[in-house]
């Protein structure tokens, strides 16, 4: 139970409070979430005094404000530590052991039930649904610094290194023109892998005057497994790629290119870890571009070369061509193009975009709102973040096309608050466009002289549902609205509204430039075009991929993911996050399109794709997703609120070995009821992971009922033992935090089952594979 006690801030100063609202004269209801964000950013938490002052200012009752604030997980009502450690427990991180990582931090910071902040008041620890760094799993975020993949042994180093660097201000990247270019992506996931350090090292070296290269920031290729990826480009010469560059390697690397030395003909390959596979120039093409080749990049066009925030470059690559063409056409013509292309909403449901636009077109004279839904809350999905960070101009262009079509009143981009870099980049892009009179006042196209605004979400998964998003934008609790009326009739502030996903908007420029036929030619008949997927899990090469719809799952894994990770056998693919399902390996030849996936019981969702191997327990995963859904349910409908909770408790019981035979039938009954009688997409699709895994992995459930976890995940059902091959190296006893492993060096070790907490650290540390799980 969360006890709602507001803390009185003794040092609260009314005059100071006034100053933080100096620049925002608007105190309408719909600004509430924004203002709460402002207050929280300033004070670090919401105290009684600050909320009371806000309630006076906004003319809302205190209860109302707290009601809204408590809905969103971002807001806190008690002061936390100076820095917040956010451990990602998204799907990919979950299967890679985020729980153990959380426990390690918990132990390191000496936390207990009553205290969520370390004793020195420096750090507070939180779990976060998804940081969108799934291929860097497990990921940890401390304030604005991302770390991943984090090993349990790294935890302490992370804290110390963070404290060391927290004082220094990060320098921004300068863009210039020179003869040799160093191209590097510094999006959030690449930063998690260390791109930030590489960048600053590179800057140091270049500014020290060894020579005059230029650094250029590029859009992310999505190949995050290999990041930080440094591309060194010289005029008239080969381009060299370096993968997994570490900051300490930068110096030697740059020196190779110093003008005093002759250019070396061969490719430098760097090994960041001994056992790492070597990724070279050819490897890249085989890894990412085989098959459909370059033309496959629609939403991610220009990945790896385009500077995210360089307007001229975007123009050169064909940017705003579509807009120019569209501005000469009537709204009906644009609708015709969409209709012909067969574009379907990329947000999850797969509803025809043209139909949605058609419904809104009837209300064009009322000046509708255009809203971009970038509240990507699914654990295991990060497409929207990548698109926003790498291609902000393209998304804005898509929005401009929509705004032109409908003579929109205003354009709003709703981005979740966990993506600060995305918010920054899109904001910067909007500023540049305004400066160039492409949007905003004095825009060259009169219909575009409207306001483009970014609104920060405050952490609620359900706000990805379009009507809940509208409520959230209006400063209310993010509860889905009953339909009808649909948003196209009465949406934001009761005006007709268009809500589309980021990816849908980002496809529009290509679609309008190349024409509907070109788009229709891609993909399958009913699902045309391409789709981005966030590929993560037990594969060798994860990241953002863009594929032709209709491609088989096995091709995605083998061609884009470069096959399964070492020692992994494909067991299942989790597609679509908490609303999707788990498909077994036998379905690997299933084409990925809307209909085929729906027939299996999964859905496309927004496009998270987590590959599971034999060490992943499907029962545990179902429990994980239901845990997520029960926490994120808005609490309005009975079945979503209590049905998910009941299913979670039954699954929890099964995972602990206390299940009985009737449980499985009961689970199925509850799941079907929940699907049938929930009002919005969250509740309707929440049982999907459970239902699919019940269908395809029934044996695994029955095994759990008999007290046995085949994958060796469920802690109450497994034991770790050391078998014959123990060489006595002692690594396991070092890895064990609970001192359960004992034994002399070079002698047999053994595990004390009473002390063992089944974290699996010893299992992972053993070089000989002498530890077995049963």
């Amino acid at each position: 139970m969360k006890n709602f006690k507001l803390i009185n801030d003794r040092s609260f100063n009314r005059a100071e409070f006034e100053t933080i609202f100096q620049n925002s004269p608007n105190f309408e209801r719909y600004e509430l979430v924004n203002h709460l964000n402002t207050v929280q950013d300033f004070y670090g938490y919401l105290s009684r005094n600050s909320l009371e002052s806000l309630s006076l200012k906004m003319n809302l009752s205190l209860n109302e404000i707290i009601g809204v604030a408590s809905f969103y997980s971002r807001f806190r009502f008690e002061p936390g530590g100076r820095y917040t450690i956010e451990v990602c427990v998204g799907t990919a991180c979950h299967v890679k052991g985020a729980e153990n990582l959380y426990n390690e931090f918990y132990k390191l910071l000496n936390l207990d039930e009553n205290r969520s902040t370390s004793e020195d008041g420096l750090f507070s620890l939180e779990k976060v649904a998804c940081l969108g760094c799934c291929m860097m799993a497990p990921a940890v975020k401390i304030e604005d610094s991302l770390f991943g993949p984090v090993e349990i042994s790294d935890c302490e180093d992370i804290l110390t290194s963070f404290l060391k660097s927290s004082g220094s201000v990060k320098s921004s990247v300068e863009i210039g023109k020179g003869r040799t270019q160093f191209l590097l992506c510094d999006c959030s996931s690449c930063r998690a892998a260390g791109a930030g350090e590489v960048l600053s090292e590179l800057k140091d070296i270049l500014s020290s005057g060894i020579w005059d290269g230029d650094i250029k920031r590029t859009a992310c290729t999505g190949n995050s497994e290999a990041s930080p990826r440094l591309e060194i480009k010289r005029s008239n010469q080969d381009t060299h790629f370096y993968y997994r560059v570490r900051a300490d390697q930068v110096k030697s690397l740059v020196r190779q290119y110093a003008p005093v030395k002759k250019v070396r003909g061969h490719l430098y390959r760097l090994y960041s870890r001994v056992e790492d596979f070597i990724l070279g120039n050819d490897k890249l093409s085989s890894c990412f571009c085989e098959g459909a080749g370059e033309e496959l990049r629609l939403a991610t066009e220009g990945a790896g070369t385009l500077d995210p925030l360089n307007l001229d470059e975007y123009r050169k690559e064909g940017g705003f061509e579509a807009l120019d063409r569209i501005s000469r056409q009537s709204s009906e013509d644009i609708l015709g193009i969409l209709l012909k292309s067969g574009l379907r909403g990329r947000g999850g449901g797969g509803y025809s975009t043209a139909e949605k636009w058609k419904a809104l077109l009837a209300h064009r004279h009322e000046k509708p709102y255009v809203i971009c839904n970038a509240d990507e809350g699914d654990p295991g999905a990060f497409m929207d973040r990548m698109l926003l960070e790498s291609f902000p101009f393209r998304i804005v262009e898509g929005l401009m096309i929509a705004a032109l079509t409908f003579h929109a009143r205003k354009v709003i981009i709703y981005v979740r608050c966990e993506y600060p870099l995305a918010i920054n980049r899109v904001g910067e892009a909007l500023r540049i466009l305004k400066k160039n009179h492409i949007i905003g006042e004095n825009a060259r196209i009169p219909q575009l002289s409207i306001d483009f605004e970014i609104v920060e979400g405050a952490g609620a998964f359900v706000c990805g549902e379009e009507t809940a998003l509208l409520n959230s934008l209006e400063g209310k609790r993010g509860i889905p609205r009953p339909r009808p009326p649909y948003p196209s009739e009465s949406g934001y502030l009761d005006h007709p509204t268009l809500v589309n996903n980021v990816e849908t908007f980002s496809l529009l420029p290509w679609l309008c430039r190349e024409g509907a036929d070109a788009f229709k030619a891609l993909g399958t008949e009913k699902s045309s075009g391409t789709k981005t997927f966030a590929l993560a899990g037990k594969i060798r090469c994860g990241g953002l991929i863009e594929v032709n719809l209709g491609i088989t799952i096995s091709r995605i894994i083998n061609e884009y993911g470069d096959g399964m990770a070492d020692g992994s056998v494909l067991k299942a693919v989790q597609i679509g996050g908490p609303s999707g399902g788990c498909l077994p390996a036998s379905m690997a030849d299933l084409p990925v399109d809307y209909e085929a996936l729906k027939n299996t019981g999964a859905i496309m969702g927004s496009g998270g794709l987590v590959v599971l191997d034999q060490h992943d327990c499907l029962v545990d995963l179902s429990r994980y997703f239901l845990d997520f859904c029960r926490k994120e349910s808005c609490g309005r409908c009975l079945w979503c609120r209590s049905g998910t909770e009941t299913m979670y408790r039954i699954l929890d019981r099964i995972c602990c070995g206390d299940g009985n035979k009737e449980d499985l039938a009961e689970l199925k009954r509850l799941a079907l009821l929940c699907r049938e009688f929930s009002q919005c997409g969250l509740g309707q699709s929440a049982p999907n992971p459970l239902l699919t895994s019940l269908e395809y992995f029934y044996d695994e459930y029955t095994a759990h009922l008999q007290g046995h976890c085949p994958a060796g995940v469920c802690k109450d059902l497994i034991t770790y033992t050391i078998d014959g091959d123990c060489i006595g190296c002692g690594l396991c006893s070092k890895a064990c935090a609970d001192k359960a492993v004992s034994g002399e060096l070079w002698h047999y070790h053994s595990i004390d089952q009473d002390l063992c907490t089944k974290c699996g650290n010893c299992f992972n540390s053993c070089p000989e594979g002498a530890i077995s799980v049963r």
Binding site: K631, C634, G635, S642
Partner: protein, 465 residues
Amino acid sequence: MSDKMVKWILNGSVVESPERMSLLDACRIHGVFIPSLCNGGEDNHSPSCMVCLVHDESENRLISSCGSTVSEGLVINTEGGNISETVSASMQMLLNEHGGDCYSPCSIACKAGLDTTYLSRFINGGDLDKAALYAQRKLAFPQLLSKICYGACMKACRRGKIDTSVDIPLLHSRAVMDSFCFPGIRRIGKRALVSGNSPECWSAAHSLNMRGFSVVILYKSDKFFSLDEFENLKDLESDVRRLEESGIQFTKFEDFSSESEGEFDYILNGSISGEMGREPGVVVIDENPDNTNLLNRIVSGREITSKLLDIRGMRKIAVSRIHSFSSSEKIVFFENYPSPVNRKDFNQQARSCLLCRCSAAGNCALKDLAEITGKRQKTGQFLRWVEPPVFWGELVYEFGKCINCGLCIKKSREEEFLPTLAMAEKGLDTRVIHLQSCLFSKNEAQIIMKSCPTGAMRMRIRGEK
């Protein structure tokens, strides 16, 4: 709602309703009752409880009638199919999350039929006299029973599943200890004669006395309660003093003349052993009412048993305990009983009571529907845990019982109360909050309470803190 009328089919017959009227209202207008909990009659209602399901023939699925509107050509069935099954399932789910019994487990467990939660409420509020008064009204031997009972209430206490049970006997005994205040009893002008030394007899006499009878107890002086060496004699004496002070007249059997028997409207012989019942001059009450010779004047033992619950309770506790003691077995009751009562400990115990008894037990839409669907709570398997109530002035909110319908919030806005309630949190934790400094007045609380379909909102009981 527009004035335009549309035709649609309800259970096979064509009916007309204004367009966009909610399906629930339209059905009710046409005489079909559909249960509903969360609906407050507003437009665009977003359904939450899913008990108002009807079958939409055209789409062949169940829809919630309060969230749907009437439209031309709609075909609706309100019976048959799996409607009742699904409504039952929803109902079961609602009951599962309903963290509160209609009656608290401790009061159900109490063999003497004492509503222990009611008692604790007074004690919680610091009003010991009221608590004592209640105990004295309910029990003939409040002080004695508080010392010798099994403590079944403690075993049933919900708190015991979390940490430690509330020591209800302690609260009880502390409240009644040496407290002698009596309410004025309105006499109904009837007289009753009760003969017998047994505790249940006296209990019956007490009960009749509380109902306004003028009662005379006939007892045998040589066998005062059959307990000469009774350990808790002091408590018993106190209780007898209470009985006397409450207006019961004690007459020795030897001093009673059978002629005065005619003055009584009711004569009750409750002697267990029967030895006194067979005495000449006293009407014998048979277990079989047909054998009695004075109709209207005689209450049979069995009738009393069914009518006056506390007698049954007395039989169970007092009879077995006292009689087993009287057969000279040494029984030590509550060995570790703190005596004299530690004031601090007592307060702590009083505060730890969760006050589980529902104030809306007789006036609860959820309970009514549970009766219709035949669903019951699975005790101890609540999805939500019972939390202590929150006090907002005269209004009290019990989270466990809330079904998140939002009707109280709607009401507080409609009536434009100064404190406006709001919904907070999400998921299963969704709750009504009130953190403003202004509080609810009695009048406002009454209105809010009436809007609540369950017992989640109630009035503050006087003295309760």
